[in-house]
Assembly symmetry: C2
Amino acid sequence: MPARRTSTRVTLSDVARDAGVSITTVSLVLNRVASATISDQTRERVEASAQRLNYRRNAAARQLRTQRSDTIGFITDAVAANPNAGDVIRGAQDVAWRHGKVVMIVNTGANAALAERAAEQLMERQVEGLIYAADHHQEVWLPPVFGEVPCVLVDCFTGDLTYPSVVPDEVGGGRTATTQLLEAGHRRIGFINLEEGLPATAGRLAGYRQALAGAGIGFDTGLVRSATDEIGLPYRRTRELMLLDQPPTGIFCATDRMAMEAYAALADLGLRVPNDISVIGFDNQEIIATRLRPGLTTVQLPHYAMGAWASERLLEMVSGDSADPAQINLPCPLVRRDSIAAPVAPGIRTMAGHLVDSHRGR
Amino acid sequence: MPARRTSTRVTLSDVARDAGVSITTVSLVLNRVASATISDQTRERVEASAQRLNYRRNAAARQLRTQRSDTIGFITDAVAANPNAGDVIRGAQDVAWRHGKVVMIVNTGANAALAERAAEQLMERQVEGLIYAADHHQEVWLPPVFGEVPCVLVDCFTGDLTYPSVVPDEVGGGRTATTQLLEAGHRRIGFINLEEGLPATAGRLAGYRQALAGAGIGFDTGLVRSATDEIGLPYRRTRELMLLDQPPTGIFCATDRMAMEAYAALADLGLRVPNDISVIGFDNQEIIATRLRPGLTTVQLPHYAMGAWASERLLEMVSGDSADPAQINLPCPLVRRDSIAAPVAPGIRTMAGHLVDSHRGR
């Protein structure tokens, strides 16, 4: 059994005795008080003793003295819900660590009561600030306890915009996806969007429309379908689009999960991606996007960048900067893989059934 | 802007003044000291004042007094690497919260230096114990700092088995997967295993062999292939198996990601799951397993159960229980979906090409 620290805790006075100096000297050296005039020799002796005795600073004692915990709290339910959530945490943590702060993560539900309890517990541990990250872009309500320290929101916002927040540029992302298909030569572009009522849904639709308008293409409501995350629904929506009298030659799917179902629907219709039909996704969920055949070209949600931004902003606020409650939109970059090609000649694209037959002959 | 706590911190003496009682009385009431004889009336008055003033306990001060932080540390790199890692955290946290403990999560790399720094920082915050979770079942080396408090490992173990650890029952999982195919009537079962050298690889192969032996079927090395996580490799391995003179009628894939590629390879050969060929996966990565068509029958890695077990065990050790450094294997339960059916009659299964033609006629 390894030794337990609780029974063998090394104190400042143990180090002082070992180094043959006063407790004050040990404290000045180990807390790196720059103004103290202590010889290099003494400094080295104290540090050697501390190391030999395995002295560890007591954050609780230091915290009472300095009123700083060097800890920021991170509350999220995204860890459980979203495979990319780890990137938000990585981003927040990389920045915090560079500033000597530890991120204390509490994983909770979207349940406001749980989030409140988590915040209370972090407050008791005197976190210097809080990051709240939602599992997808949405409006949230936060209990007042979040207002007791500087607080930054990731992938969400409060209705009154009390807190600074960072969210994906959904409009720009929708424009990027649509533009990719336009640039490959597509003119009839289907769009399987998320359900109504989400910021992502409205934003990406606006981006889709902007890109079409920019290319001088009219908006055709028949080419836009909405789907929830329900298994099988994006499959059916893809089929519906392809069985139109004038089916699209490219499809923009609002999530990579939808694109995975679209691939299956297209294969079942005998259509090949990208030779017969191009597909672009959204999210860059690598577990899906890289393993689809062909690899899925998609638009990345900026999880890492949002986490890093939130941490930077929070640390500025902790240092006394004012809390400008602005909402920042971070760009969603294109991730190019192999699911987009030029459309096939319009002549042979009359209906899916015909296309299947013409392919059998290849 | 919400008020900042740092400048307006409410103290015990503020509450005492408001309630018209002594600081000691406030402390006894708010810390719920059972032995104190204080009237219900006074108790209620103090609690009302504390609530009105928004008094919050100071964990740092309490910690110095009680020597307890009520916090356990959780170090992992799995959050970034594994979409199911959230379940380990949820399991650990659900148990810890029931015991009034907060889990402080630090996300780190497999890099031992980072893990050491994370542990040091958690130690400074006087965590009562540590959980270290790896992103997949493996042997790890941990710096000595992990031995300073009770420590439990998840999905990994140290070579000297210093710490209690919990890992998946890989042998049982391999047996479960193979048995599913056997029970559906399959006799030639292909196995695309992970690369050599991992506990999962050896364990699942042993389980596969045990299940075959139990059914009186000889082991055919030609039916077992290994693949890394490299994109495209499981696709090629599936093709190789199906182009054997005597191809399998069912395939056991060591991950759901492999099964996703196997589906694509089988579709490209004109084979339908499960009518022409059965497939079973491993992991239960829902993002894949639920959206494949048909849904993938698979064997679940017990992430939540491992997290919960680790927290239970750790809290026992924190309460003074001895650290039996045993390694616990938790079962990997079957998750039934739609990718297994009875094999097609042996007569028509001569080679993949023939099968494709016979299907065209359906």
